[in-house]
Point group: C2
Protein backbone atom coordinates (compact mmCIF):
# COMPACT_ATOMS: atom_id res chain seq x y z
CA UNK A 1 0.00 0.00 0.00
CA UNK A 2 1.54 3.28 -1.14
CA UNK A 3 0.37 6.61 0.24
CA UNK A 4 0.56 9.18 -2.55
CA UNK A 5 -0.84 12.30 -0.85
CA UNK A 6 -1.77 13.46 2.64
CA UNK A 7 -3.83 16.37 3.96
CA UNK A 8 -5.18 17.13 7.39
CA UNK A 9 -8.07 19.34 8.48
CA UNK A 10 -10.71 19.52 11.21
CA UNK A 11 -9.12 16.66 13.13
CA UNK A 12 -9.09 14.28 10.17
CA UNK A 13 -6.02 12.98 8.34
CA UNK A 14 -6.82 12.03 4.76
CA UNK A 15 -4.43 9.97 2.63
CA UNK A 16 -4.70 8.80 -0.96
CA UNK A 17 -3.33 5.33 -1.55
CA UNK A 18 -2.71 2.84 -4.33
CA UNK A 19 -2.42 -0.91 -3.95
CA UNK A 20 -1.57 -2.68 -7.20
CA UNK A 21 -3.89 -0.87 -9.61
CA UNK A 22 -6.53 -0.08 -6.97
CA UNK A 23 -6.88 3.57 -5.95
CA UNK A 24 -8.38 4.62 -2.63
CA UNK A 25 -8.57 7.06 0.27
CA UNK A 26 -7.90 6.40 3.95
CA UNK A 27 -9.23 8.71 6.70
CA UNK A 28 -8.17 8.54 10.36
CA UNK A 29 -8.42 10.73 13.48
CA UNK A 30 -5.61 13.30 13.75
CA UNK A 31 -5.53 12.98 17.51
CA UNK A 32 -6.90 9.51 17.87
CA UNK A 33 -5.90 6.23 19.29
CA UNK A 34 -4.11 3.62 17.27
CA UNK A 35 -6.15 0.53 16.51
CA UNK A 36 -9.42 2.33 15.77
CA UNK A 37 -12.30 0.21 14.51
CA UNK A 38 -12.44 0.29 10.70
CA UNK A 39 -15.37 1.13 8.41
CA UNK A 40 -15.19 0.45 4.67
CA UNK A 41 -17.26 2.81 2.52
CA UNK A 42 -18.30 2.05 -1.03
CA UNK A 43 -19.46 4.56 -3.66
CA UNK A 44 -22.50 4.33 -5.90
CA UNK A 45 -22.53 3.42 -9.58
CA UNK A 46 -20.93 6.08 -11.79
CA UNK A 47 -19.38 7.82 -8.80
CA UNK A 48 -15.90 7.50 -7.26
CA UNK A 49 -13.86 7.53 -4.06
CA UNK A 50 -14.21 11.31 -3.63
CA UNK A 51 -17.94 11.63 -4.21
CA UNK A 52 -19.02 14.48 -1.88
CA UNK A 53 -21.60 12.42 0.04
CA UNK A 54 -19.08 9.68 0.66
CA UNK A 55 -16.39 12.10 1.85
CA UNK A 56 -18.88 13.79 4.21
CA UNK A 57 -19.87 10.44 5.71
CA UNK A 58 -16.23 9.39 6.06
CA UNK A 59 -15.33 12.59 7.90
CA UNK A 60 -18.39 12.23 10.14
CA UNK A 61 -17.41 8.65 11.05
CA UNK A 62 -13.91 9.84 11.98
CA UNK A 63 -14.87 12.94 13.96
CA UNK A 64 -18.00 11.61 15.67
CA UNK A 65 -17.19 7.93 16.13
CA UNK A 66 -13.40 7.93 16.11
CA UNK A 67 -13.31 5.35 13.32
CA UNK A 68 -10.69 4.74 10.68
CA UNK A 69 -12.41 4.78 7.27
CA UNK A 70 -11.32 3.61 3.85
CA UNK A 71 -12.78 3.60 0.37
CA UNK A 72 -11.63 2.43 -3.05
CA UNK A 73 -12.63 3.28 -6.60
CA UNK A 74 -14.71 0.45 -8.04
CA UNK A 75 -13.24 -1.13 -11.19
CA UNK A 76 -13.56 1.29 -14.11
CA UNK A 77 -14.53 4.18 -11.81
CA UNK A 78 -12.67 7.29 -10.57
CA UNK A 79 -8.97 7.04 -11.29
CA UNK A 80 -9.16 3.52 -12.67
CA UNK A 81 -9.15 2.44 -16.28
CA UNK A 82 -12.54 1.54 -17.74
CA UNK A 83 -12.33 -1.54 -19.95
CA UNK A 84 -13.91 -1.75 -23.40
CA UNK A 85 -16.56 -4.13 -22.01
CA UNK A 86 -17.32 -1.74 -19.10
CA UNK A 87 -17.69 1.11 -21.60
CA UNK A 88 -20.17 -0.95 -23.62
CA UNK A 89 -22.28 -1.60 -20.48
CA UNK A 90 -22.28 2.08 -19.55
CA UNK A 91 -23.22 3.09 -23.11
CA UNK A 92 -26.03 0.50 -23.19
CA UNK A 93 -27.33 1.75 -19.85
CA UNK A 94 -27.33 5.40 -20.92
CA UNK A 95 -28.99 4.50 -24.22
CA UNK A 96 -31.72 2.47 -22.50
CA UNK A 97 -32.37 5.27 -20.02
CA UNK A 98 -32.53 7.90 -22.79
CA UNK A 99 -34.99 5.77 -24.74
CA UNK A 100 -37.14 5.07 -21.67
CA UNK A 101 -36.34 1.35 -21.77
CA UNK A 102 -35.75 -0.70 -18.61
CA UNK A 103 -32.14 -0.49 -17.47
CA UNK A 104 -32.48 -3.28 -14.90
CA UNK A 105 -31.08 -6.18 -16.95
CA UNK A 106 -28.04 -4.14 -18.04
CA UNK A 107 -27.34 -2.86 -14.50
CA UNK A 108 -27.66 -6.40 -13.14
CA UNK A 109 -25.03 -7.74 -15.57
CA UNK A 110 -22.74 -4.76 -15.10
CA UNK A 111 -22.99 -4.71 -11.28
CA UNK A 112 -22.34 -8.43 -10.91
CA UNK A 113 -19.32 -8.22 -13.21
CA UNK A 114 -17.95 -5.30 -11.18
CA UNK A 115 -18.60 -7.15 -7.93
CA UNK A 116 -16.68 -10.18 -9.16
CA UNK A 117 -13.60 -7.98 -9.61
CA UNK A 118 -14.14 -5.68 -6.60
CA UNK A 119 -14.59 -8.36 -3.91
CA UNK A 120 -10.98 -9.66 -4.07
CA UNK A 121 -9.73 -6.08 -4.33
CA UNK A 122 -11.51 -5.10 -1.11
CA UNK A 123 -10.06 -8.16 0.66
CA UNK A 124 -6.54 -7.28 -0.48
CA UNK A 125 -7.04 -3.66 0.67
CA UNK A 126 -8.43 -4.88 4.00
CA UNK A 127 -5.32 -7.04 4.55
CA UNK A 128 -3.13 -3.98 3.96
CA UNK A 129 -5.27 -1.66 6.12
CA UNK A 130 -5.10 -4.03 9.06
CA UNK A 131 -1.31 -3.79 8.88
CA UNK A 132 -1.47 -0.04 9.61
CA UNK A 133 -0.93 1.08 13.22
CA UNK A 134 -4.08 3.27 12.97
CA UNK A 135 -6.27 0.22 12.38
CA UNK A 136 -7.01 -2.58 14.80
CA UNK A 137 -6.48 -6.06 13.36
CA UNK A 138 -8.53 -7.90 15.95
CA UNK A 139 -11.79 -5.93 16.09
CA UNK A 140 -14.74 -6.16 13.74
CA UNK A 141 -14.93 -4.25 10.49
CA UNK A 142 -17.97 -2.37 9.23
CA UNK A 143 -19.06 -1.93 5.62
CA UNK A 144 -21.39 0.76 4.33
CA UNK A 145 -22.54 1.50 0.82
CA UNK A 146 -25.67 1.74 -1.30
CA UNK A 147 -26.51 0.96 -4.95
CA UNK A 148 -23.36 -0.41 -6.67
CA UNK A 149 -21.61 -0.48 -3.28
CA UNK A 150 -24.31 -2.86 -2.05
CA UNK A 151 -24.00 -5.02 -5.17
CA UNK A 152 -20.32 -5.34 -4.23
CA UNK A 153 -20.79 -5.35 -0.43
CA UNK A 154 -23.26 -8.22 -0.23
CA UNK A 155 -21.03 -10.87 -1.85
CA UNK A 156 -18.05 -9.36 0.00
CA UNK A 157 -19.83 -9.76 3.35
CA UNK A 158 -20.78 -13.35 2.53
CA UNK A 159 -17.16 -14.31 1.94
CA UNK A 160 -15.33 -11.99 4.37
CA UNK A 161 -15.70 -12.98 8.04
CA UNK A 162 -13.90 -9.82 9.20
CA UNK A 163 -16.99 -7.77 8.25
CA UNK A 164 -19.23 -7.96 11.33
CA UNK A 165 -21.82 -5.24 10.60
CA UNK A 166 -23.00 -3.67 7.36
CA UNK A 167 -25.25 -0.98 5.91
CA UNK A 168 -26.73 -1.62 2.48
CA UNK A 169 -29.62 -0.31 0.42
CA UNK A 170 -31.06 1.29 -2.70
CA UNK A 171 -29.72 -1.50 -4.88
CA UNK A 172 -31.14 -3.09 -8.00
CA UNK A 173 -32.13 -6.60 -6.95
CA UNK A 174 -31.20 -9.71 -8.91
CA UNK A 175 -31.21 -13.35 -7.94
CA UNK A 176 -27.57 -13.73 -6.86
CA UNK A 177 -27.96 -10.74 -4.53
CA UNK A 178 -31.00 -12.33 -2.87
CA UNK A 179 -28.95 -15.52 -2.46
CA UNK A 180 -26.11 -13.51 -0.90
CA UNK A 181 -28.56 -11.83 1.50
CA UNK A 182 -29.84 -15.24 2.64
CA UNK A 183 -26.27 -16.22 3.58
CA UNK A 184 -25.54 -13.04 5.54
CA UNK A 185 -26.07 -13.28 9.29
CA UNK A 186 -24.24 -10.22 10.67
CA UNK A 187 -26.30 -7.22 11.87
CA UNK A 188 -27.63 -5.17 8.97
CA UNK A 189 -29.15 -1.77 8.39
CA UNK A 190 -30.95 -1.59 5.06
CA UNK A 191 -31.75 1.84 3.62
CA UNK A 192 -34.70 1.85 1.25
CA UNK A 193 -35.49 4.97 -0.81
CA UNK A 194 -39.29 4.83 -0.67
CA UNK A 195 -39.91 6.56 -4.00
CA UNK A 196 -37.13 5.20 -6.21
CA UNK A 197 -38.20 5.74 -9.82
CA UNK A 198 -35.93 3.01 -11.21
CA UNK A 199 -35.96 0.35 -8.50
CA UNK A 200 -39.23 -1.32 -7.55
CA UNK A 201 -40.07 -0.80 -3.85
CA UNK A 202 -41.30 -4.37 -3.46
CA UNK A 203 -37.96 -5.80 -4.63
CA UNK A 204 -36.21 -3.82 -1.89
CA UNK A 205 -38.63 -5.11 0.76
CA UNK A 206 -38.00 -8.66 -0.48
CA UNK A 207 -34.22 -8.22 -0.33
CA UNK A 208 -34.51 -6.95 3.26
CA UNK A 209 -36.72 -9.92 4.08
CA UNK A 210 -34.12 -12.33 2.65
CA UNK A 211 -31.25 -11.38 4.99
CA UNK A 212 -30.43 -14.24 7.36
CA UNK A 213 -29.44 -11.79 10.10
CA UNK A 214 -31.14 -11.95 13.50
CA UNK A 215 -30.62 -8.21 13.82
CA UNK A 216 -31.62 -6.35 10.70
CA UNK A 217 -33.39 -2.99 10.50
CA UNK A 218 -35.07 -1.52 7.46
CA UNK A 219 -34.88 2.28 7.28
CA UNK A 220 -37.21 3.59 4.59
CA UNK A 221 -37.31 7.31 3.79
CA UNK A 222 -39.28 9.29 1.22
CA UNK A 223 -37.38 10.26 -1.88
CA UNK A 224 -35.55 8.74 -4.80
CA UNK A 225 -32.34 6.88 -5.38
CA UNK A 226 -29.96 9.66 -4.34
CA UNK A 227 -32.02 11.32 -1.62
CA UNK A 228 -31.08 9.51 1.58
CA UNK A 229 -31.42 12.08 4.40
CA UNK A 230 -28.28 13.11 6.26
CA UNK A 231 -29.67 11.91 9.60
CA UNK A 232 -29.14 8.35 8.35
CA UNK A 233 -25.40 9.09 8.37
CA UNK A 234 -25.78 10.16 11.99
CA UNK A 235 -27.82 7.05 12.76
CA UNK A 236 -25.11 4.85 11.29
CA UNK A 237 -22.72 6.04 14.02
CA UNK A 238 -24.99 4.45 16.63
CA UNK A 239 -25.29 1.25 14.59
CA UNK A 240 -21.53 0.86 14.20
CA UNK A 241 -20.91 1.86 17.83
CA UNK A 242 -23.18 -1.00 18.95
CA UNK A 243 -21.38 -3.55 16.79
CA UNK A 244 -17.80 -2.35 16.34
CA UNK A 245 -17.36 -0.26 19.45
CA UNK A 246 -16.28 3.32 19.14
CA UNK A 247 -12.80 4.68 19.70
CA UNK A 248 -14.35 7.93 20.93
CA UNK A 249 -16.53 6.23 23.50
CA UNK A 250 -13.67 4.01 24.65
CA UNK A 251 -11.39 6.99 25.16
CA UNK A 252 -13.97 9.18 26.93
Amino acid sequence: MHFTAQTSSNGVIERDFTLDDVTGVFWSPASGSDHAPLVLLGHGGGLHKRAPGLVARAQHLVTTGGYAVATIDAPGHGDRTRSAQDRRWVAAMLRARAEGEPIGPIVADYNSALAERAVPEWRMVLDALQGLPEVGADGGVGYSGMTLASAIGLPLTVIEPRITAAIFGGVLVYESLVEAARRITVPIQFLLPWDDAEIDRQSGLELFDAFGSTEKTLHANPGGHHQVPWFEAEDSIGFFARHLGSARLTLA
Copy 2:
Protein backbone atom coordinates in the same frame (compact mmCIF):
# COMPACT_ATOMS: atom_id res chain seq x y z
CA MET B 1 -52.88 18.37 38.55
CA HIS B 2 -52.25 16.71 41.91
CA PHE B 3 -49.00 14.94 42.66
CA THR B 4 -49.74 11.94 44.85
CA ALA B 5 -46.30 10.34 45.25
CA GLN B 6 -42.69 11.18 44.49
CA THR B 7 -39.53 9.10 44.32
CA SER B 8 -36.07 9.87 43.02
CA SER B 9 -33.30 7.57 41.83
CA ASN B 10 -30.44 7.57 39.32
CA GLY B 11 -30.93 11.22 38.51
CA VAL B 12 -34.64 10.89 37.72
CA ILE B 13 -37.52 12.33 39.74
CA GLU B 14 -40.70 10.33 39.27
CA ARG B 15 -44.10 11.64 40.36
CA ASP B 16 -47.54 10.08 40.19
CA PHE B 17 -50.30 12.49 39.35
CA THR B 18 -54.05 12.66 38.93
CA LEU B 19 -55.97 15.21 36.89
CA ASP B 20 -59.73 14.82 37.18
CA ASP B 21 -60.06 11.04 36.89
CA VAL B 22 -56.92 10.62 34.73
CA THR B 23 -53.95 8.90 36.40
CA GLY B 24 -50.41 9.37 35.17
CA VAL B 25 -46.68 9.56 35.86
CA PHE B 26 -44.30 12.47 35.28
CA TRP B 27 -40.52 12.00 35.04
CA SER B 28 -37.98 14.83 35.06
CA PRO B 29 -34.21 15.25 35.52
CA ALA B 30 -33.16 15.53 39.19
CA SER B 31 -30.40 17.97 38.32
CA GLY B 32 -31.78 19.39 35.12
CA SER B 33 -32.76 22.70 33.76
CA ASP B 34 -36.26 24.02 34.03
CA HIS B 35 -38.18 24.19 30.77
CA ALA B 36 -36.99 20.85 29.39
CA PRO B 37 -38.55 19.69 26.12
CA LEU B 38 -41.46 17.33 26.81
CA VAL B 39 -42.12 13.84 25.45
CA LEU B 40 -45.50 12.15 25.93
CA LEU B 41 -45.36 8.34 26.10
CA GLY B 42 -48.38 6.10 25.54
CA HIS B 43 -48.74 2.47 26.61
CA GLY B 44 -49.94 -0.45 24.51
CA GLY B 45 -53.36 -2.08 24.70
CA GLY B 46 -53.94 -4.00 27.95
CA LEU B 47 -50.91 -2.36 29.59
CA HIS B 48 -50.69 0.70 31.84
CA LYS B 49 -48.62 3.74 32.84
CA ARG B 50 -46.03 1.62 34.69
CA ALA B 51 -45.45 -1.06 32.04
CA PRO B 52 -41.75 -1.93 32.41
CA GLY B 53 -40.83 -1.12 28.79
CA LEU B 54 -42.49 2.28 29.04
CA VAL B 55 -40.77 3.11 32.34
CA ALA B 56 -37.38 2.10 30.90
CA ARG B 57 -37.89 4.33 27.86
CA ALA B 58 -39.06 7.23 30.06
CA GLN B 59 -35.96 6.98 32.27
CA HIS B 60 -33.72 6.73 29.20
CA LEU B 61 -35.28 9.88 27.71
CA VAL B 62 -34.66 11.75 30.97
CA THR B 63 -31.10 10.56 31.63
CA THR B 64 -29.81 10.55 28.04
CA GLY B 65 -31.75 13.39 26.45
CA GLY B 66 -32.61 15.54 29.45
CA TYR B 67 -36.31 15.46 28.56
CA ALA B 68 -39.33 15.77 30.79
CA VAL B 69 -41.59 12.77 30.14
CA ALA B 70 -45.22 12.06 30.97
CA THR B 71 -47.63 9.19 30.51
CA ILE B 72 -51.25 8.54 31.41
CA ASP B 73 -53.32 5.41 31.83
CA ALA B 74 -55.60 4.99 28.82
CA PRO B 75 -59.34 4.92 29.67
CA GLY B 76 -60.16 1.63 31.43
CA HIS B 77 -56.48 0.77 31.87
CA GLY B 78 -54.15 0.74 34.90
CA ASP B 79 -55.69 2.60 37.84
CA ARG B 80 -58.75 3.71 35.90
CA THR B 81 -62.21 2.20 36.00
CA ARG B 82 -63.11 -0.06 33.09
CA SER B 83 -66.67 0.54 31.90
CA ALA B 84 -69.13 -2.26 31.20
CA GLN B 85 -68.80 -1.59 27.46
CA ASP B 86 -64.98 -1.71 27.67
CA ARG B 87 -65.21 -5.01 29.54
CA ARG B 88 -67.42 -6.42 26.79
CA TRP B 89 -64.86 -5.42 24.13
CA VAL B 90 -61.99 -7.00 26.08
CA ALA B 91 -64.00 -10.19 26.63
CA ALA B 92 -64.93 -10.36 22.93
CA MET B 93 -61.27 -9.87 21.96
CA LEU B 94 -60.02 -12.60 24.29
CA ARG B 95 -62.77 -14.96 23.12
CA ALA B 96 -61.97 -14.34 19.44
CA ARG B 97 -58.25 -14.87 20.06
CA ALA B 98 -58.88 -18.10 21.99
CA GLU B 99 -61.09 -19.42 19.21
CA GLY B 100 -58.60 -18.44 16.50
CA GLU B 101 -60.99 -15.92 14.98
CA PRO B 102 -59.81 -12.55 13.64
CA ILE B 103 -59.62 -9.94 16.39
CA GLY B 104 -59.12 -7.02 13.98
CA PRO B 105 -62.71 -5.75 13.81
CA ILE B 106 -63.09 -5.82 17.60
CA VAL B 107 -59.74 -4.09 18.20
CA ALA B 108 -60.62 -1.44 15.61
CA ASP B 109 -63.89 -0.57 17.39
CA TYR B 110 -62.34 -0.71 20.85
CA ASN B 111 -59.24 1.35 19.92
CA SER B 112 -61.24 4.08 18.19
CA ALA B 113 -63.61 4.33 21.15
CA LEU B 114 -60.63 4.61 23.53
CA ALA B 115 -58.98 7.22 21.29
CA GLU B 116 -62.12 9.34 21.29
CA ARG B 117 -61.93 9.56 25.08
CA ALA B 118 -58.11 9.70 25.40
CA VAL B 119 -57.44 12.55 22.96
CA PRO B 120 -59.14 15.28 25.06
CA GLU B 121 -57.57 13.76 28.20
CA TRP B 122 -54.06 14.07 26.73
CA ARG B 123 -54.75 17.70 25.73
CA MET B 124 -55.95 18.54 29.25
CA VAL B 125 -52.86 16.85 30.74
CA LEU B 126 -50.61 18.69 28.28
CA ASP B 127 -52.13 22.04 29.37
CA ALA B 128 -51.34 21.17 32.99
CA LEU B 129 -47.82 19.88 32.23
CA GLN B 130 -46.90 23.06 30.39
CA GLY B 131 -47.77 24.99 33.56
CA LEU B 132 -45.01 23.16 35.47
CA PRO B 133 -41.64 24.93 35.84
CA GLU B 134 -39.87 21.73 34.69
CA VAL B 135 -41.58 21.89 31.30
CA GLY B 136 -41.12 24.50 28.63
CA ALA B 137 -44.38 25.94 27.30
CA ASP B 138 -42.93 27.33 24.10
CA GLY B 139 -40.94 24.44 22.64
CA GLY B 140 -42.24 21.52 20.64
CA VAL B 141 -43.67 18.40 22.24
CA GLY B 142 -42.91 14.84 21.20
CA TYR B 143 -45.24 11.85 21.30
CA SER B 144 -44.18 8.22 21.29
CA GLY B 145 -46.26 5.08 21.51
CA MET B 146 -47.08 1.91 19.60
CA THR B 147 -50.22 -0.24 19.21
CA LEU B 148 -53.07 1.34 21.24
CA ALA B 149 -50.83 4.36 21.90
CA SER B 150 -50.62 4.91 18.14
CA ALA B 151 -54.39 4.50 17.74
CA ILE B 152 -54.65 7.35 20.26
CA GLY B 153 -51.57 9.29 19.15
CA LEU B 154 -52.49 9.64 15.47
CA PRO B 155 -55.81 11.51 16.01
CA LEU B 156 -54.14 13.42 18.87
CA THR B 157 -51.32 14.58 16.57
CA VAL B 158 -53.82 15.63 13.89
CA ILE B 159 -55.67 17.91 16.30
CA GLU B 160 -52.84 19.04 18.62
CA PRO B 161 -50.43 21.54 17.03
CA ARG B 162 -48.12 21.44 20.06
CA ILE B 163 -46.98 17.93 19.00
CA THR B 164 -44.15 18.56 16.53
CA ALA B 165 -42.59 15.08 16.21
CA ALA B 166 -43.98 11.61 16.83
CA ILE B 167 -43.07 7.93 16.92
CA PHE B 168 -45.80 5.44 16.06
CA GLY B 169 -46.01 1.82 14.95
CA GLY B 170 -47.23 -1.73 15.36
CA VAL B 171 -50.84 -0.63 15.23
CA LEU B 172 -53.88 -2.35 13.78
CA VAL B 173 -54.84 -0.28 10.76
CA TYR B 174 -58.39 0.89 10.06
CA GLU B 175 -59.69 3.56 7.74
CA SER B 176 -59.89 6.48 10.18
CA LEU B 177 -56.24 5.90 11.15
CA VAL B 178 -55.17 6.06 7.50
CA GLU B 179 -57.14 9.30 7.18
CA ALA B 180 -55.41 10.68 10.29
CA ALA B 181 -52.00 9.70 8.85
CA ARG B 182 -52.75 11.60 5.64
CA ARG B 183 -53.39 14.77 7.68
CA ILE B 184 -50.19 14.47 9.74
CA THR B 185 -47.27 16.51 8.44
CA VAL B 186 -44.84 16.60 11.40
CA PRO B 187 -41.70 14.40 11.29
CA ILE B 188 -42.51 10.76 12.00
CA GLN B 189 -40.66 7.59 12.91
CA PHE B 190 -42.78 4.53 12.24
CA LEU B 191 -41.77 1.24 13.91
CA LEU B 192 -42.97 -1.83 12.06
CA PRO B 193 -42.62 -5.28 13.67
CA TRP B 194 -41.72 -7.30 10.55
CA ASP B 195 -43.23 -10.61 11.73
CA ASP B 196 -46.37 -9.53 13.56
CA ALA B 197 -48.67 -12.55 13.75
CA GLU B 198 -51.83 -10.48 14.22
CA ILE B 199 -51.22 -7.38 12.10
CA ASP B 200 -50.68 -7.73 8.38
CA ARG B 201 -47.28 -6.36 7.26
CA GLN B 202 -48.75 -4.79 4.15
CA SER B 203 -51.24 -2.73 6.18
CA GLY B 204 -48.34 -1.27 8.17
CA LEU B 205 -46.45 -0.36 4.99
CA GLU B 206 -49.60 1.32 3.66
CA LEU B 207 -50.09 3.31 6.85
CA PHE B 208 -46.46 4.51 6.66
CA ASP B 209 -47.04 5.43 3.04
CA ALA B 210 -50.13 7.47 3.96
CA PHE B 211 -48.39 9.93 6.31
CA GLY B 212 -48.34 13.42 4.82
CA SER B 213 -45.00 14.19 6.49
CA THR B 214 -42.04 15.28 4.38
CA GLU B 215 -39.76 13.62 6.91
CA LYS B 216 -40.93 10.15 7.82
CA THR B 217 -38.76 7.10 8.42
CA LEU B 218 -39.93 3.51 8.57
CA HIS B 219 -37.93 1.32 10.97
CA ALA B 220 -38.77 -2.34 10.43
CA ASN B 221 -37.24 -4.99 12.68
CA PRO B 222 -37.69 -8.76 12.80
CA GLY B 223 -40.01 -10.04 15.49
CA GLY B 224 -43.60 -9.81 16.60
CA HIS B 225 -45.85 -7.24 18.15
CA HIS B 226 -43.97 -6.88 21.44
CA GLN B 227 -40.41 -7.41 20.26
CA VAL B 228 -39.14 -3.98 19.31
CA PRO B 229 -35.38 -4.00 19.99
CA TRP B 230 -34.04 -1.70 22.68
CA PHE B 231 -31.76 0.12 20.24
CA GLU B 232 -34.91 1.76 18.82
CA ALA B 233 -35.33 3.48 22.20
CA GLU B 234 -31.77 4.76 21.81
CA ASP B 235 -32.49 5.85 18.23
CA SER B 236 -35.53 7.79 19.38
CA ILE B 237 -33.23 10.06 21.41
CA GLY B 238 -31.58 11.21 18.17
CA PHE B 239 -34.94 11.69 16.48
CA PHE B 240 -36.33 13.84 19.29
CA ALA B 241 -33.04 15.73 19.66
CA ARG B 242 -33.29 16.73 15.99
CA HIS B 243 -36.84 17.98 16.34
CA LEU B 244 -37.34 19.07 19.95
CA GLY B 245 -33.79 19.94 20.89
CA SER B 246 -32.21 18.30 23.89
CA ALA B 247 -31.75 19.85 27.32
CA ARG B 248 -28.57 17.78 27.73
CA LEU B 249 -27.02 18.96 24.50
CA THR B 250 -28.00 22.56 25.18
CA LEU B 251 -26.40 22.46 28.62
CA ALA B 252 -23.22 20.71 27.51
